[in-house]
Symmetry: C2
Subunit: 363 residues, 2 copies
Amino acid sequence: MPLHPVHAPLARVRLAVDCMGGDHGPAVTLPACRAFLDKHPQAELVLVGTAVALEGAATLARCTQVVATEVVTMDDPVEVALRKKRDSSMRVAIEQLKDGAHACVSAGNTGALMAVARYLLKTLDGVDRPAIASVLPNRNDGYTTVLDLGANVDCAPEHLLQFAVLGSALVSAVDGKPNPSVGLLNIGEEAIKGSEAIKRAGELLRVAGAEGHINFHGNVEGNDIFRGTVDIVVCDGFVGNVMLKTSEGLASMLSDFIKQEFTRTPLTKLAALVALPVLKRFKRRVDPRRYNGAALLGLRGLVFKSHGSADAFAFEQALTRAYDAARNRLLDRVQDRIGDTLQAGAAGPEPLPSGDAASPQAA
Amino acid sequence: MPLHPVHAPLARVRLAVDCMGGDHGPAVTLPACRAFLDKHPQAELVLVGTAVALEGAATLARCTQVVATEVVTMDDPVEVALRKKRDSSMRVAIEQLKDGAHACVSAGNTGALMAVARYLLKTLDGVDRPAIASVLPNRNDGYTTVLDLGANVDCAPEHLLQFAVLGSALVSAVDGKPNPSVGLLNIGEEAIKGSEAIKRAGELLRVAGAEGHINFHGNVEGNDIFRGTVDIVVCDGFVGNVMLKTSEGLASMLSDFIKQEFTRTPLTKLAALVALPVLKRFKRRVDPRRYNGAALLGLRGLVFKSHGSADAFAFEQALTRAYDAARNRLLDRVQDRIGDTLQAGAAGPEPLPSGDAASPQAA
């Protein structure tokens, strides 16, 4: 393992917050900011929103305010966010990264956020395509980081190697694991399994692992995500997006089925009353709000995306993830790892395929 | 919608059963056969297994026995099943399809079963690659049929169209829906989303839908599988396999978490006692055993695959699915639909890509 320079944590962390993003806007983001500031005395926030929205934040300490006149809605097409709404809270929040903020957080729509971030920040040398990374709970009562979750489709093997490097930097910064393990999502553990791109990606990852640039475990399968077999699972954005939405759909169906069964008759309602503390504990354990906050990785700046439907508790988690990443200098760590791996000849950047414009593919 | 000839159900259905397949072999398959025969007076079984194993089935009515001297294990590589064990129960069971059996059921390993079935039966005209189709429970208290679940990776758009046709025939035969709806698994509902292959598949499916060959709904996302948005979801085998294993892993984790929470303390154990009837009802509702029995579609014969770990109840479900399919003449329905759609010029068969040998990719 090459020795990376030790990055002392930042003494003060400044986060730029798009207060208008998400389904609920300032009604959720401002209370979340207040709760977050209470728990993080080393944090400062740059609140970006309309003048009216920011009135509610006048009394917050360690906050500066930046007024934006426009708002990117959850339905706005990428082109509108990119070319028309040039004074949107989303865009102005990202611009704060050039003006002293260490990371930016938005609950705005994913496609727009990725496109604007990519346009304003550009990708890092050695990275062809930024990726979306998020975490899912696993059996070890920890979580598994998965990327890409939908920014890229038709990924080349080199992209999957880049995702492995980006994910390793993220987990080392946010979870304090210096050498997190990486699995390649496949349909079997054997190296001969999978599509042509996946097999070649496996070869690149094995080389990078043998050279000590990443801690490559080998192939993993869908169930390994929840088993916690590895710290990081890399996959094509199409596969990752289907996997994520399938998981959300299944979890939501099962949770509704439990609710339905416990409210079916007066007797089952009584049983629910008795079982309530247990059910609450279970619910808390798999509460998706605890895992809110996806990282847009591979850009020349740290951008975190909250779920659009996040409540204040969930949005606070996204702020915390961004804070941890910035405080532990994720960007420096990413650059170290890219320098080691991607420029060491394991795989150079390849020209972008045509059609791979600024617009990401995620729904 | 072109009018398909009406196929009267078969008066008698003969199923060939690989009694040795799966983790438990005859200890599971024979009791399942007994229970199945009790419920299906129009069924006959051809039991295939070693002489010793079949001794336990001597008293079963409406059964004939065929002795095979070898057994394909769950770990046997495809090559062993295909070239070495030529008198395996799996292979002999499939061979019964040429000798009067209407469908074959095995719990043996998927890769071997697909390879042997493909070698012995060959694919239907108009079908390039056989696919694996299975069902997942959905919110409508019904189920969604998904294919391909891992037989094919790197699917061309034409393959996805073929899967749509095969799936439509299956659901019309087994579920009695004359015109089941088909969704294309994608990362967004809009037609412009997805990989290049998916976008072109969407065009083919839209044409086939407009011509009335299939009932094409449009793109669906991962969560639509459990929402029950469509009857059939088609996808590349890589994506389908990851989706299926992710779902199995998540469901199993959640179920274990519930168990852990209810057994944590004496008090929670008491709560579990009270909640037991509710939990049992919930468990029954999502019991994966009820959905056991995947169809290998696109071959010149009906082969059904039971989960390797199936118990007698689950294996009986696989027998029932095979019985329903054979009784309602799935093979004739498939051929009708292929005749309509694939030979109508919507998309002709394309040459097999190199490397697409008899060995399927599923783990």
